[in-house]
Each structure stands twice: as structure tokens, then as C-alpha cells.
């Protein structure tokens, strides 16, 4: 029998922990599995999935190849109206799956109000609300326009955006410039200082960076992210190293292309003072890599996880543009002085695209500086990353984690593994106040909700079934 009698017994124990303790007492090598029942056991869906394992595996392999081969670069900047696909004057892009004005959460509404004031469509918050509710403004998810936005993720027509290109496959993606922390549009704040900052970004920051990017030609984002992971970032809740690396790349070109020292200094200082300046770019780089893996028949790889503050949405490679959604949960967080979980909005933003690409919470073992979010010990952080290997299809070829002997980050969430193993993706996140106009009140972590993943798996099974018929 397979040489069992001649081999040292090494046991995987699944179930009663006392059996593992018994093995320990006898010095038998063993590992205990903290097993839990699958998220659902719909026999029909599962049997379709099981009988297509070969095809699904092959499709996932192809999807992962595309994700890993992707080469995201910044190749330019432009105004959203001019460059973002299907952008138009009365359209606002937002984070997460589709949502109507009626269903939007407080911070999302706040950001819409701010954007309408910024665009000059409304003069006051009251007027902006009227306009937003009137039906003359259209709303659409960033993800449906090759774009991503953190938190509320609002992209309005006049906003400047970075243009990213996947040098391997040619696709493009778009993201705004990060405004900084605290009272900012993406957290739902819309006071005059918020609008003024956005205007400054449009009039001063954008032209300077656009010229600098043109001078540089293109900027390799994959390279910056790979370095940043080895410098303590996970490029979601910590972007300090990546921002610094980007700053080093931009600074000479900003100076060389500027006629005005004061302006050049103000531009560089803005980036310098915003540790999260790189966040939008790590999101864009993740987005463009995952988009390359879209529409591969049979693939169970997640290509989008995104939240609009009301719902959490998931898209799979093998199910086209279909969204699978469920209510968005409230994160476990550390709150700024004066705020509590009571004040927190359900999770919001496209930034979970970083986790979808194997960064952020999936790479938290790279980021000992922020382990306080996950229980305070570096081991906790490492365990979270180790756990994510359970639900991913591959280890990243470029993004490596120093502490894990440069093991590649867990990349490519497989919805089948999520459901079967009952392990939900682990996401780093910022927390917005639930009311419009307040802004950020904390930062923390959460596990993705189960519902969208269960629905996605059923969706994939149905798609496979209908393909065959």
C-alpha cells in the first residue's frame, strides 16, 4: 500500500483537536486543520463545478498568466472627459457595483455633492442634492469605464486622471490623483477647502505632473510596487515607500518642466506630504492587470472586488460583466479621537482591487508597520497572508514578501476555494463617517462578506451550464 508501512507517519488532522494533541504527545509529526463547513452546499451548482474541474483549472491558469504577465505603466495624464471611455458631461463615476442616488450611503452622497459643486453644476450642497436626485445626472461604476477610485471613488468629467497602459496587452486604465487624508472628497467631505484643493489639483498639480510624465515618457508601476513591498508597504493602507519612490522618479522632471520654482515646490510638497499619493496608482496597476484576465470562459478567478458603501460587489473572469453583490459590512477599525464604530459607514471603495491582485491585505506580511490593524503582532499579519494562499491560484512572480523568504504574494482569488474552504478575502481599508460631509474617521481591516462569493459561484455554474446547452 504505497509504502505507507515503510514511511514515517505524518498526519493531517481535520476535526477534533484532541487527536492532534495525542499525536503531539507521541512526537508524531502532524498539522491541525481549522476546518469549517463550506459557505454553501448547493449540490446542483457544486456538481456542475466539480464535473468541469479540468476546464476550470485550465482557464484559471490562463487567467493567472495574464495577471502575472501584465506590465502596468503610467503613460500620460488627461482630463476624464477627454480620455475615460464613455465619459460625458452629466456622468459621475463611483466606486463599487452600480448604485442609485436613492441607495447611496452618506459619504458617497457627500462626494457626489462635492463633485457637482466642483463641476459648477450646483452652487450649494442643497442644490447639488436636488440635481443628483433629479435624474439629469447619470451614475456608473468606475469599473465599467476602465477606472478605479478609492472610497467614494467619484470621477467627474473635469477631473484630471493618470492614464495607465498595460504594456503587455495594450489595455488602458484610469485613476484620479490622491487628495490626501482627513477631510477629502473621497471620504464624502465637500466643504469649500475640499473643493479648493480639487481646483488646485486641476489647475496647478495636474499640468505640472502631466508635463513631468511626458518628459519621463512612462513610469513602471510594477517595479515601484515590487520595491515598495520590500520597504514595508502593502500598497493599500500603507503607501509611504511607494509614494517616496514615485516622488524620486517625478521630482527631477517636475523641476525640469516648470517655469516657476514656487509652483514646482508646491507640487512636490503636496506629494511629499501625502503618504497615500501612490494609492490610486497601485489601484490602477491592479485594475489593469486584472482586466487582462477578464472574459476567460470557465475561469473562477475574481477580477473585481469593489464596494459602494451600500453593497459589496464581485466580478469573475468567467462571468463577463455580471456583478454579484451583497450588503457591505462595517470594518473593524481603529478610530480617530472622538469617533467610534457607531459613526462608521459600511465598507466603501474600489481600493479592494489591490487585494484582488494579491496586494493590500493579502500582502500584509510585508507591512509590519501597520500590524496594529490586525491584532498588534507581526505574526498575526503573517498569518493573514498565509491564510490568503489558501484561496488564491498562484504566487506572484514579481511581488515578493521578504519575511516569507521572498515568497510571491497570494494572487488570483479563486471563488471556488473561497466557498469550499469558507475563507473570505481579507481587506485593508479606510473608514468613512456614515454622514455626508464628515470625512475619514479611522482605518482598519475586514473580511469580505460571503454573499457575493456564493452568488458568484452559482453564477459561474449557471454560465457553464448555459454554455453547454
Amino acid at each position: 500500500m504505497n509504502n505507507l508501512f515503510q514511511t514515517e507517519l505524518k498526519v493531517v488532522n481535520i476535526g477534533l483537536k484532541s487527536f492532534k494533541e495525542t499525536l503531539d504527545k507521541q512526537n508524531v509529526k502532524s498539522v491541525h486543520v481549522d476546518w469549517r463547513p463550506p459557505l454553501f452546499t448547493d449540490e446542483k451548482a457544486m456538481s456542475i463545478i466539480k464535473s468541469n474541474t479540468g476546464k476550470i483549472d485550465a482557464a484559471n491558469k490562463q487567467a493567472l498568466q495574464k495577471i502575472l504577465n501584465s506590465k502596468p505603466f503610467i503613460v500620460g495624464m488627461g482630463k476624464a472627459l477627454d480620455v475615460v471611455p464613455s465619459m460625458k458631461k452629466n456622468l459621475l463615476l463611483h466606486a463599487g457595483p452600480p448604485v442609485t442616488w436613492e441607495k447611496m450611503c452618506g459619504p458617497m452622497r457627500g462626494a457626489v455633492i462635492g463633485a457637482l459643486i466642483y463641476e459648477g453644476i450646483a452652487g450649494t450642497p442643497e442644490k447639488a442634492e436636488q440635481v443628483a436626485a433629479s435624474g439629469q445626472i447619470e451614475f456608473s461604476p468606475c469599473h465599467e469605464h476602465s477606472a478605479v477610485g478609492p472610497m467614494a471613488g467619484i470621477v467627474s468629467p473635469s477631473m484630471p486622471v493618470f492614464i495607465l497602459q498595460n504594456e503587455e496587452y495594450g489595455d488602458k486604465a484610469y485613476c484620479t490623483m490622491n487628495e490626501g487624508l482627513g477631510k477629502v472628497l473621497r471620504y464624502g467631505a465637500f466643504s469649500s477647502d475640499v473643493i479648493e484643493r480639487l481646483k488646485w489639483m486641476e489647475k496647478i498639480l495636474y499640468p505640472s505632473l502631466k508635463r513631468a510624465v511626458e518628459k519621463i515618457g512612462k513610469i513602471d508601476l510594477k517595479n515601484i510596487i515590487a520595491q515598495a513591498l520590500q520597504m514595508g508597504d502593502e500598497v493599500h493602507n500603507r503607501n509611504r515607500a511607494a509614494t517616496s519612490l514615485l516622488y524620486r522618479t517625478l521630482a527631477p522632471a517636475v523641476l525640469q518642466t516648470s517655469d516657476d520654482k514656487e509652483i514646482a515646490a508646491s507640487v512636490l510638497e503636496f506629494i511629499n506630504r501625502n503618504d497615500h499619493f501612490f494609492l490610486n496608482l497601485s489601484m490602477g496597476a491592479s485594475k489593469i492587470s486584472l482586466d487582462a484576465a477578464r472574459n476567460i470562459e470557465y475561469s473562477s478567478i475574481v477580477v473585481v472586488m469593489a464596494r459602494n458603501g451600500t453593497e459589496f460587489g464581485v466580478q469573475l473572469s468567467g462571468t463577463g460583466d455580471q456583478w454579484f453583490t451583497g450588503p457591505s459590512p462595517i470594518p473593524d477599525a481603529l478610530f480617530f479621537t472622538g469617533f467610534t464604530k457607531e459613526d462608521a459607514n459600511p465598507d466603501i471603495g474600489d481600493s479592494s482591487i489591490t487585494e484582488t491582485a494579491g496586494l493590500g491585505g493579502f500582502a500584509i506580511a510585508s507591512s509590519p508597520a501597520i500590524v496594529q490593524f490586525v491584532g498588534g503582532s507581526t505574526k498575526d499579519a503573517i498569518n493573514y497572508t498565509l491564510k490568503m494562499y489558501e484561496i488564491t491560484a498562484a504566487e506572484n512572480n514579481i511581488y515578493k514578501i521578504p519575511y516569507l523568504n521572498f515568497r510571491g504574494t497570494p494572487t488570483g482569488i479563486d471563488v471556488i476555494k473561497v466557498v469550499e474552504k469558507n475563507i473570505l478575502p481579507f481587506i485593508d481599508t479606510g473608514v468613512a463617517h456614515k454622514n455626508a460631509g464628515v470625512g475619514q474617521i479611522g482605518a482598519g481591516v475586514l473580511s469580505a462578506p460571503a454573499e457575493p462569493f456564493v452568488k458568484a459561484l452559482i453564477g459561474l455554474a449557471n454560465k457553464i451550464k448555459s454554455n453547454k446547452e
Binding site: M1, N2, L9, V12, G15, Q26, V31, A369, I423, A443
Partner: protein, 521 residues
């Protein structure tokens, strides 16, 4: 309200640590409001606007940490500040987290890449899928879980046979592989006797008896009781036999089971025919003619099977075993006569209270021949079913490990409480002539059985002395001195309380039956 503020000069904390400290402080008793910030201009104006500013913290600079507190009336500020100091000390990042625990077979295989066995004890409705995953990853499977559908068992075993892997179970409580006792199993000598068993306690009994007789076990493979049924067709029983036939360290093969389905028995006999090693078989409840013409030497009790295997192992003649058992029977009769003489006229019935299912079966067989009318909750052979399992009638032999006794409770080998209550009830009953028990030692069982059973035995004595009756308690102890509970220690302590401890369940049953039948005459 009392507002106080302190400056921690030049102490740098990253923003996350500050948030964490602030959270701890805000949750302290007596703290109405609080803030922990670096002393920047903006932060100080924030403190002022929220009424937390004090002259003490006015001079704080950008590199200073400021703690501002509003305390409820009557709260001792000094005490709160000392607690805050402790919070600062405790937030130093430590590396004392839990080690990573995988949540799936895949994850476990990353941690232990050359694992070769999966021990599965999750709920039955999931256990089949988990077992299949394990087989697909090339692991042998011990399936402790019960309530696995029989179709699933067949699927698993057929798949495993293709891949040259074992599936022990479902409902396999014990096995010993490469000297390692798994689940409910005893620490026995290693040796040249290999066992295939479709019965859990049966396997424990024979391995212990062999070990206590100075011989040892090469491998003890459990198959789960359903394996020898017609539907499963003895897939793993036969695979186990073949594996032992091929194993260079196995010289004697011992088969333990209830009588298999006819076609399965035929298969076993035919496979045995191709094996050159001596084979002993005990198929509890089968006719003594069952194995006639085969090369399997039939034993009628677990003890006889163990001793015959020992004889083969030591290359002794089987007549040694027969002689020894005959001699022991003489002693049993003698003891029985003495004990029977001490019983009062009302004492008529045997009350056997088992934790091991196979022991319950074996005792029924041994009693039926002599006593005739035997009742059980799990009738075996010619026994009749008890009307109410909670009430003994006539000669009663109970399996307290059966589901109806264990709802919401651990197995009686672990949790003695149900059986202890029943022992006392039987002791109170003037018709009880003998109490027969089993105690099963080893891993998985109760680690301190004496603490469970001795007080009850003392209580039985108190009850019967008060009622001026003599009530023999007879017991077998399945285990070895290498078991964590140590068999000799358990036997000695029971003996000191007047319990008649026998070397096997067969011997204990024989003694109990003999006492009762002698009383009748």
C-alpha cells in the same frame, strides 16, 4: 468633571499606535472624554475646541505626545494615569502571536508537504468530501466520522483502491499504524502480528491482549463496521489483508469482525487462500463451522483470537492456548461457586453495563449459551430488545455507547456519568446478582478513569452493605501499562476495592455468567 493633561516629551508613536492607545484609554472606567495626539498646532486647537485643553499641555510641541483626559467626578486621576502608563507599555509590538493554523487540506500540505495520512473527524455530512480531497492529495484516510452515506463510502473506497490508498472508516475509532495509535487506541508493543478489524473495541481488545502477552503489533488497520457489508463488499478489509500479506514485518495475520455478508466472507476466504502466512479470524457470532475448509483458524472470542495469534507469533502450538483457557475456566468456576454462595435469594440477574460496543456483543454471545433469555438495547445473536433501554429486565447487557445514551454527551469511555448512575440504580435493585463492566484505557479515553469509577464502587458497597447483600462487581480493563492511564495501576486500585478484575472481556463475561448460573442451580 476634572480635565487633566500630560505631555510625553519627544516620544514618537506612529499614528496607528496612537489610535490604538486612544481606544484603550477611551474605554477606561471613569474616563468621560479623551484624546491622544501629537502636539501639533492643529491638534492643540482641536483639543481646545473639544474642551480638553489644559495649561499643562499648552507648551507641547510637534514631537511631543499629548494625552488629554476628562474624568468623571470622584475618579482618582493618579490611578487612571498609572493605568495609561501600562497601556503605553503594553502597545510595544510583540512577536507572540499564534502560529499559523491552516484551514484546508491544501493549506496543511503547505505546512507539512510530505504528510501521508488524513485523520478526519468532522461532521458526517461533510466528512466524505473532506476524505475525497485528502485522497486526491495522495493521503491515506482514517475516517473517524460516522453518518457518512454508504454511497459515499463506496465511492471513496473504490477511488482509494485505484490509488493504492487506505480508507479506514467511516466510523473507524481506532487503528495503529507504524506503531502510532490513532484516535481511540492503546500504546502496545510493536511486533509481527498484523490486524485487520471491522470492529473498534474488538481491535483495542486484541491489540492489548497480544501486547500484555509479550508479543506485538506490526500494523492494526480499522475498516469501519460497514466495510464487510454486502454493499461495500469488504473493499478495505481485503486491501488490508493484502497489504499485511505483502508486509515484511508481519508474520501473523489476525482478522476481527462481526460475521461479514456471505459474498464478502467468500472473498475473504479466497484472498486468504493466496496468503502464505498463518491467519487467525474471529467473526463474533458466526457459526464455529464458518471457516471450515479455509486456511483461517477460527477463534470464538476476541481473547482466543489474540492468544492464538500470540502462539503463532511465538511459533508455539495452538494446544498451548487451549490448555491455558481450560485451566482458566476451572479457576473461573471455582471463583463463581464462592461468589454465588454469598448471594441472597432475591439476587438473580446479571446486569452488564458496557462502554465498548463489541464487548457488549461478545458478552451477549457468551451469556446466551448458558442463560438463554438475554436482553439488550442492541440485541445480538438470540438476544431480545429491551422495551426501555433505561430499565433493565431479566439478564440485561447494555451498550451505553449507543446513540440514545450519548445525545449531547461524550462517549461513555470519556464521560462515565451516565453509566455511573446506572451502576448505582442496579446496585439498589435487590434482583441484581452481578454487575459486569468494561474499562477501556488508551488515548482518546478518559485520562483518569479511577477518579470516575472508584467513588461509585465505594457507593455500591455502602448501598449493598446497608441492605446486607453481597454484590460482585466484575470488570475487564482493556489497556496496557504503556497507556497513559497505566493498566496495572487501574487494576490494582479496582482490586483494592474488591472488584474482580479479569484479563479479558471474555473471561469477565464467563465469570459473571458462571456466578449467575450457579446461583440458579
Amino acid at each position: 468633571m476634572n480635565t487633566i493633561g500630560i505631555i510625553k516629551k519627544g516620544e514618537y508613536y506612529d499614528s496607528i499606535t496612537i489610535m490604538l492607545i486612544a481606544k484603550h484609554i477611551s474605554e477606561m472606567e471613569g474616563v468621560a472624554d479623551s484624546a491622544v495626539v501629537m502636539g501639533t498646532k492643529e491638534n492643540k486647537s482641536m483639543l481646545a475646541s473639544s474642551g480638553l485643553m489644559t495649561p499643562d499641555i499648552q507648551p507641547a510641541g510637534e514631537m511631543d505626545l499629548v494625552v488629554a483626559l476628562k474624568l468623571n467626578d470622584g475618579i482618582n486621576a493618579k490611578f487612571v494615569l498609572s493605568k495609561i502608563d501600562a497601556v503605553f507599555k503594553a502597545t510595544k509590538i510583540s512577536d507572540e502571536g499564534e502560529n499559523f493554523i491552516p484551514q484546508s487540506i491544501d493549506g496543511a500540505m503547505n505546512v507539512l508537504p510530505d504528510a501521508n495520512m488524513a485523520m478526519i473527524s468532522v461532521a458526517g455530512r461533510y466528512a466524505g468530501d473532506v476524505a475525497m480531497k485528502s485522497l486526491q492529495r495522495g493521503l491515506h484516510v482514517m475516517l473517524f466520522s460516522d453518518n457518512v452515506p454508504i454511497e459515499k463510502e463506496i465511492e471513496l473506497k473504490k477511488f482509494a483502491r485505484e490509488k493504492n490508498l487506505f480508507v479506514m472508516g467511516p466510523d473507524c475509532g481506532t487503528a495503529i499504524l507504524n506503531g502510532v495509535p490513532l484516535a481511540f487506541a492503546n500504546v502496545v508493543n510493536r511486533g509481527n502480528i498484523g490486524i485487520v478489524a471491522a470492529s473498534g473495541t474488538g481491535l483495542q481488545e486484541v491489540t492489548c491482549l497480544i501486547s500484555n502477552a509479550g508479543c506485538g503489533i506490526s500494523q492494526a488497520i480499522g475498516t469501519g463496521g460497514r466495510d464487510v457489508k454486502k454493499e461495500v463488499g469488504g473493499i478495505m478489509f481485503v486491501e488490508g489483508m493484502k497489504a499485511l500479506a505483502d508486509d515484511a514485518n508481519t508474520d501473523v495475520i489476525l482478522l476481527v469482525s462481526k460475521p461479514p455478508a456471505t459474498e464478502v466472507m467468500e472473498k475473504i476466504i479466497s484472498v486468504a487462500r493466496g496468503i502464505q502466512k498463518p491467519i487467525v479470524g474471529v467473526f463474533l457470532g458466526a457459526s464455529p463451522e464458518l471457516l471450515k475448509g479455509s486456511n483461517i483458524r477460527q477463534a470464538l472470542t476476541l481473547e482466543e483470537a489474540a492468544l492464538l495469534s500470540v502462539a503463532h507469533s511465538k511459533k508455539e502450538n495452538a494446544s498451548v492456548v487451549i490448555d491455558a483457557l481450560k485451566k482458566r475456566e476451572t479457576e473461573i468456576i471455582k471463583t463463581a461457586r464462592e461468589e454465588a454462595a454469598k448471594l441472597s435469594p432475591s439476587q438473580k440477574y446479571l446486569r452488564a453495563l458496557y462502554s465498548g460496543g463489541t464487548f457488549c456483543d461478545e458478552a451477549q454471545l457468551l451469556c446466551q449459551d448458558v442463560l438463554g433469555e438475554v436482553y439488550s438495547n442492541i440485541p445480538f445473536g438470540s438476544s431480545k430488545k429491551l422495551k426501555d433501554s433505561w430499565k433493565s429486565e431479566n439478564y440485561t447487557i447494555l451498550d451505553l455507547g449507543d446513540d440514545e445514551f450519548t445525545v449531547g454527551k461524550p462517549h461513555p469511555m470519556i464521560d462515565y456519568s451516565t453509566r455511573n448512575k446506572r451502576i448505582l440504580a442496579e446496585a439498589e435493585n435487590p434482583e441484581t446478582a452481578v454487575i459486569l463492566l468494561d474499562i477501556v484505557l488508551g488515548y482518546g479515553s478518559n485520562m483518569n478513569p479511577l477518579a470516575e469509577i472508584i467513588p461509585v464502587i465505594k457507593e455500591v458497597k455502602r448501598i449493598t452493605e446497608k441492605q446486607k447483600r453481597h454484590l460482585p462487581i466484575i470488570c475487564s480493563v482493556t489497556g496496557t501499562d504503556k497507556d497513559p492511564q497505566n493498566r496495572t495501576a487501574v487494576v490494582t486500585a479496582l482490586g483494592a476495592e474488591g472488584v474482580n478484575v479479569m484479563e479479558s472481556n471474555a473471561a469477565a463475561s464467563r465469570l459473571a455468567v458462571s456466578i449467575v448460573s450457579r446461583k440458579e442451580k
